[in-house]
């Protein structure tokens, strides 16, 4: 995120260099340093510590990192860490793709098909209604619906479509992805809708006048101009899914691996250095993904 040269001369005269501005920036910076940077540094530090059953032993050892990748040189069978990351990536990708398609479609409809701004606001608020209850409740409400004797199976059996209940509806990859999509599509809709609302309508008219088909307009005008929203939404969804352990736990019947779950188990057994090493690795991977995504768009400029 480099400062572009064109803005530099302006900022030298701007009030940005005055004492007052520093004071104004301080509260947030302090909160940021205190509750984010320092804990983060501590995690980095502890990931090099040693530990036993009940104590952390200050040290400088790579033991924790080595044990995270224990057995990963074995070519016959993938090690736990790789397997876990693979499964986490799989969920991230699937959820990203589905929420993107749904989020884009919903935003497109809201932004371009709904004419009155009153109806637009109403429909937008409608999208947020699920957020009035907590994550966990929204998740758990799927269980009686999808279960072996749940509503879906009972209805299907009732109308004679199936004889035995469908088992893969619950505690499976399917239910995990379903819950994620249900929980996080909103994080796609908001930024994409926001980007779309900024698109100058005359551009679409111009495309029409030049004889572009609906698809051409969508692909060559709207998608490129919604890019910022798409990238921001993607960052939200991918980072959430990468770190999740609650949804995968509840909807996957606690038997689907996720890197967040491993960290959680390790902290509950006081293996903080191991968990810290895992957290550092996870953080680096997520940061790399975000870095790659921000290469595609200059968020600061677009906002």
């Amino acid at each position: 995120m480099s400062t572009s040269p064109t803005t530099l001369p302006a900022s030298t005269q701007a009030p940005g260099r005055s004492i007052a501005a520093w004071w104004q920036a301080m509260p947030l910076s302090l909160v940021f340093v205190l509750f984010f940077l320092i804990p983060l540094a501590l995690i980095g530090m502890v990931s090099f510590w040693d530990f036993n059953e009940y104590e952390l032993l200050p040290d400088f050892t790579f033991k924790n990192y080595v044990s995270v990748f224990d057995g990963c040189s074995n070519m016959d069978e993938m090690c736990v860490t790789f397997k876990t990351y693979l499964s986490t990536f799989k969920f991230s990708f699937l959820v990203w793709l589905i929420t993107l398609v749904i989020g884009f479609t919903v935003s497109y409809f809201l932004a371009f098909y709904v004419r009155s701004s009153g109806v637009q606001t109403l429909l937008f608020v409608l999208c947020t209604i699920p957020f009035w209850t907590s994550n966990v409740i929204r998740m758990i409400s799927w269980v009686p619906l999808l279960g072996r004797n749940g509503l879906v199976n009972q209805s299907l059996q009732g109308i004679g479509l199936i004889n035995t209940p469908i088992e893969w509806l619950l505690f499976s990859d399917f239910s995990v992805v379903l819950a994620f999509v249900h929980l996080y599509t909103m994080f796609m809709i908001v930024p994409i809708f926001n980007s779309m609302m900024r698109i100058d309508r005359s551009l679409i008219e111009a495309a029409n006048d030049s004889g572009a088909s609906a698809w051409q307009t969508l692909w060559n005008v709207i998608v490129p101009l919604s890019r910022t929203g798409i990238i921001i939404g993607s960052i939200f969804v991918i980072t959430i899914v990468m770190g999740d352990f609650v949804t995968i736990g509840v909807m996957g019947g606690q038997q689907i691996a996720s890197i967040g779950k491993i960290i959680q188990v390790q902290t509950s057994y006081l293996q903080f250095p191991l968990a810290a090493a895992n957290a550092v690795i996870l953080l680096s991977i997520v940061l790399m993904i975000i870095w790659a995504l921000t290469r595609l768009v200059d968020i600061r400029k677009e906002l």
Binding site: L40, I43, E55, G243, G253, I263, Q266, T267, S268, Y269
Partner: protein
């Protein structure tokens, strides 16, 4: 994003407190401050304030009715801090000043006591100390020794002194925990869906129940259940299921992974309510289960057995401990609570939930004769048996699963444990979850 940051801050706060507690000066400093306060630097404020005890434990043992009754009897307020079993240990090790009374299981002591965060409880201040059941003090039920594989309470119940960090092999004046509740766990089954007798731990991995079985996802307890299954299947006989070698852990986890890959498990469960829901909804027909969870399924009107098995039970026991820094009126209050707890009312309350209380004599005096006969003597109920809050648990004529106290507790095969190779075990358990 929130999940990541939450995990990170959780870890960081745990680490920060852990690191601070590791340094001795801070602790003695705090002790000093507490001492000054106790000595009455603010006498007026101090005596006017009612005592509030922060009670750290799992939600299962923290009953609202017990807290209310105690406050009514003594004027001391109990403030429940409910966390999971693993988190109780974590808090005890990393933040020992965040509670005034800890309710934890004996197996956790192997992790907590060496930190010096617990104070030995002076048996002389406990009125009913000599009436505590022999299961804890000598490891016997009705004069017969029970299994002591794993962390049997008698191995860890005595400390060498009030401030000791090591367990004493012989009885002393100081106890690490004063026992409160205990039970012997086994498999829970849905007899209406299984429709045949179940009598061995091996049934948990019987392919007949493919996709309908569940196991506990608390590694240190789940591995014990798995070990019971491995022995029952005749794969291996452990010298001590509660303290496996790396090879034995590998073998146990391998058995679990094979079963998982074959689709044996419908789900794993971690908390009480999860196990109740799995069973009640019919997602699972056989799983390792806790006795009050079976009771909870039954109060919904669904048949569920806490099935006695020929290989015996996996037992657990919980008790009250005091943080090392507790002093003054709060310490007195904590002793008062422990004494009140052993005095019968709470014991009877727990017995009626299907647990056992540590002092049986006092509990008996607070129970009806027919209740005692049903819960403790394994006799058929002469009238409907009700839970403490009035739900019918068993109709007249029913007999308790597992029979009498002596039959059940005498059948203990092993105890919940923390192994020497615990770190390795947790790592392998993660492999099982990821497989």
């Amino acid at each position: 994003m929130t999940d990541i940051t939450k995990t990170i801050t959780d870890i960081a706060s745990g680490v920060a407190t852990g690191a601070l507690n590791a340094s001795v000066p801070r602790r003695s400093l705090l002790k000093g401050t507490a001492g000054i306060l106790a000595a009455g630097m603010f006498p007026a404020v101090h005596s006017a304030e009612p005592i509030v005890l922060r009670y750290l434990g799992t939600a299962v043992n923290q009953d609202k009715a017990i807290g209310e009754k105690f406050e009514k009897d003594t004027g001391i307020k109990i403030q429940y801090v409910a966390v999971t079993t693993d988190d109780v240990t974590k808090r005890a090790v990393t933040a020992p000043n965040s509670f005034d009374l800890i309710d934890t299981e004996y197996f956790s002591l192997k992790k907590i006591v060496p930190t010096g965060n617990l104070k030995g409880i002076d048996v002389k201040r406990i009125k009913n100390a000599d009436k505590i059941t022999t299961l804890f003090t000598t490891g016997t039920v009705a004069g017969k020794a029970v299994g002591e594989q794993g962390t049997a309470p008698k191995k860890v119940i005595y400390l060498e002194g009030e401030k000791s960090k090591v367990f004493s092999k012989t009885p002393t004046q100081f106890m690490s925990l004063i026992p409160t509740v205990y039970n012997a766990d086994t498999l829970g089954i849905r007899p209406d869906l299984i429709k045949r007798p179940i009598n061995s731990w091996a049934e948990l991995l019987n392919p007949e129940f493919k996709g309908k079985a569940a196991i506990l996802n608390i590694p240190s307890i789940g591995i014990m259940d798995a070990a019971m299954v491995v022995e029952a299947m005749g794969i291996y006989k452990y010298p001590d299921k509660g303290n496996m070698t790396k090879k034995e852990i590998d073998l146990t986890i391998k058995t679990l992974i094979e079963a998982k890959k074959a689709g044996q498990f419908r789900s794993l469960w971690k908390d009480f309510n999860e196990s109740v829901n799995l069973m009640a909804s019919g997602e699972v027909v056989i799983q390792s289960m806790w006795s009050p969870a079976v009771t909870a399924v039954r109060t919904k009107g669904i048949a569920c057995n806490f099935q006695p098995l020929k290989e015996g039970y996996r037992a657990w026991a919980a008790g009250f401990g005091l943080p090392a820094t507790l002093s003054g009126r709060k310490l007195d209050g904590a002793y008062e609570f422990i004494n009140w707890f052993l005095d019968g009312w709470a014991g009877a309350y727990l017995n009626r939930q299907g647990y056992y209380s540590a002092v049986l004599d006092t509990a008996k005096s607070k129970m009806e004769a027919y209740e005692w006969a049903y819960w403790m003597e394994g006799k058929a109920a002469t009238q409907d048996i009700k839970s403490p809050n009035g739900d019918v648990l068993a109709k007249a004529g029913a007999v308790r699963d597992g029979g009498s106290y002596e039959a059940r507790m005498g059948g203990i095969a092993c105890w919940n444990a923390v192994m020497d190779e615990n770190n390795y075990m947790v790592q392998k358990w993660n492999e099982f979850v990821a497989a």
